[in-house]
């Protein structure tokens, strides 16, 4: 799923500026599931903004709402009354939702309340790991289901670099935690599957144009287009 993290409160305050009427808009799909931008978090942020305004003597009115999916205009219609009344909308949706909102309400100031960070897998409750880079050309079939594009720190396609040590990558998370070496995992799984040869297949340079290097992508399902 798409995951995102709440922006630091002072950043949000900076984005909201002197606006008198603030609407915090949550999205009840991906960002809700990753516990960052659902109605619950929208309500919390609204309360925080009211408390801060109250403390500092600003007469700011803050309300919250949430859309089923902010990336769909039909769902935005359901909250348009509240959006209309606000001077600024703090969107807790992913980057898609924020832009969708900004496009639909073109004259409205729409600012992000979250940083969209990855396509993550919930490892356990409240822990997500990056699993997909939306590269446009999936190699998982030959890498034993482990993505080297995002799970290898260097996006290597032909095996581990020399920094792989006891199954761990030479790179650590910002918190200093160890990261699994993707190629080590790939090797272990290929062995288990009896497909070791795949490790030594020459993989040509990847076609990055199918991913973000190809410019803004567009997808059309012709057969599904309304007639």
């Amino acid at each position: 799923m798409i995951t995102a993290e709440r922006k630091p409160f002072d950043k949000i305050l900076g984005l909201v500026g002197e606006s008198k009427k603030v609407l915090v808009a949550g999205c009840d799909t991906c960002v809700a599931v990753c516990l960052t931008g659902g109605e619950k978090e929208a309500e919390i942020l609204a309360s925080e903004l009211r408390i801060e305004a109250g403390m500092n003597g600003r007469e700011t009115e803050v309300e919250h709402t949430s859309a089923i999916r902010q990336c769909e205009w039909e769902y935005l219609d359901l909250i348009s009354d509240k959006v209309d009344q606000a001077d600024v909308v703090v969107s807790l949706a992913c980057g898609i939702g924020i832009q969708s909102m900004a496009e639909k309400f073109a004259t409205k100031l729409v600012v992000p309340g979250v940083d969209t960070n990855m396509l993550g897998m919930p490892l356990e409750h409240a822990v997500w790991l990056e699993r997909c880079g939306a590269c446009g050309e999936c190699v998982l079939g030959e890498t034993a289901g482990v993505c080297p594009v995002v799970r290898c720190s260097k996006s290597l396609m032909n095996g581990p670099c020399g920094g792989s040590h006891e199954g761990k990558c030479e790179v650590k998370t910002p918190e200093g935690e160890e990261i699994d070496c993707a190629w080590h995992l790939i090797w272990e799984r290929l062995k288990a599957q009896g497909r070791e040869d795949l490790m030594f297949v020459d993989r040509p340079p990847k076609n990055w144009s199918k991913g973000s290097s190809g410019g803004p992508r567009k997808m059309v399902r012709v057969e599904a287009r309304p007639v």
């Binding site: 720190s153 260097k154 996006s155 290597l156 396609m157 032909n158 095996g159 581990p160 670099c161 020399g162 920094g163 792989s164 040590h165 006891e166 199954g167 030479e170 790179v171 650590k172 070496c181 080590h184 090797w187 272990e188 490790m199 030594f200 020459d202 993989r203 040509p204 340079p205 990847k206 990055w208």
Partner: protein, 324 residues
């Protein structure tokens, strides 16, 4: 004893892929010695001048690192040219971290134009180790793709996209391998993969754990790989016990046995430890030279270039041969 001046000319290429000094020595089955030179973190070209002068006559070629440990330095292409201007043949290192396939092909064409013949294809240390941690890692290609791309340019006169060129760059293509990296069992096969991609020589990660290296070499030999590629064993002289400890604990992919650390630490700090470090390097070189399939050594005296001539001499590797 002063080594003879190496002439680098365009017409000494017959039968060779690139015709570099290094290629010739290795092809002739003679024990090769390469050194390493880190370009400065400023536009001070004299640093490379000095380092090159120091090594001249003691090594067959010198590696010019490419933003080593992800720290910005003078680019490897310019530095390689300066080294060769000082009479030392360069091995230009290219990492996949900072450039995409366009930049790397452009650079290699330029390098070839300027007389660079040896190239070492690397993935590159991750940005998080360097001084621009927020940088975007390019990693368009990996090192194997890079080897293949250079080989295709050289042998098939083809760009990576398949388009043809008129004059191909003449390159002696090297790669690196870490015999101590995990998973250990794939390391020999991984070298084979690099060979298949087109590597002509390999310089290994610096070796401290000899038994483990020997085991790796056994596997290499059992696969017959030593006949397919020139293997240059990596050597790093240890300057102090502190450095030994640091490499043991903090440098990824490094395997420093405790007895090595202890051996250095048993000496007084300063000159005695340095002497012991050089002595150790010499012993290692001698032992490595005995291993079947080891075609040379690559001495990486990190910011300790003055030690190299002494070591090379003590190891009995002088004079360096001249090639026609």
């Amino acid at each position: 004893m002063t080594p003879e001046k190496t002439e680098i000319t365009e017409d000494t290429v017959d039968g060779y892929k690139a015709g570099s000094n290094l290629e010739k020595i290795l092809s002739d089955g003679r024990f090769a010695v390469t050194g390493e030179c880190g370009p400065p973190k400023s536009a001070d070209g004299s640093v490379i001048d000095n380092k090159a002068k120091l090594l001249k006559g003691y090594v067959d070629a010198v590696n010019i690192t490419d933003n080593q440990t992800a720290v910005v330095r003078v680019c490897s292409l310019a530095s390689a040219v300066v080294a060769q201007q000082n009479g030392v043949e360069a091995v230009m290192q290219v990492t996949c971290r900072d450039r995409n396939r366009l930049a790397m092909q452009a650079d290699i064409l330029g390098a070839s134009t300027l007389g660079i013949k040896n190239v070492l294809c690397l993935t590159g240390d991750h940005m998080s180790f360097g001084n621009h941690r927020d940088a975007k890692g390019v990693h368009d290609l990996d090192s194997i793709n890079l080897i293949k791309m250079f080989k295709d340019m050289r042998d098939d006169k083809k760009f990576q996209c398949g388009e043809e060129m008129t004059v191909a760059p003449r390159l002696y293509i090297g790669c690196a391998e870490n015999p101590f990296g995990d998973p250990y069992e794939i390391r020999a096969l991984r070298l084979k993969k690099k060979i298949l991609a087109g590597a002509d020589f390999v310089q290994t990660q610096c070796i401290f754990n000899l038994p483990k290296f020997k085991k790796w070499m056994e596997e290499i030999r059992s696969l017959g790989l030593h006949k397919e590629i020139k293997i240059m064993a990596g050597i790093t002289p240890i300057k102090s016990a502190g450095m030994a400890n640091y490499m043991k604990k903090a440098v990824p992919g490094m395997d420093v046995p405790q007895e090595i650390v202890d051996r250095i630490a048993a000496q007084e700090k300063g000159a005695p430890q340095q002497a012991e470090g050089k002595k150790l390097a010499v012993e290692m070189i001698k032992e490595l030279a005995e291993i079947e399939g080891v075609a040379g050594v690559h001495i990486m005296a990190v910011e300790w270039e003055p030690a190299v001539p002494e070591i090379v001499e003590a190891a009995g590797l002088l004079p360096r041969p001249t090639v026609a």
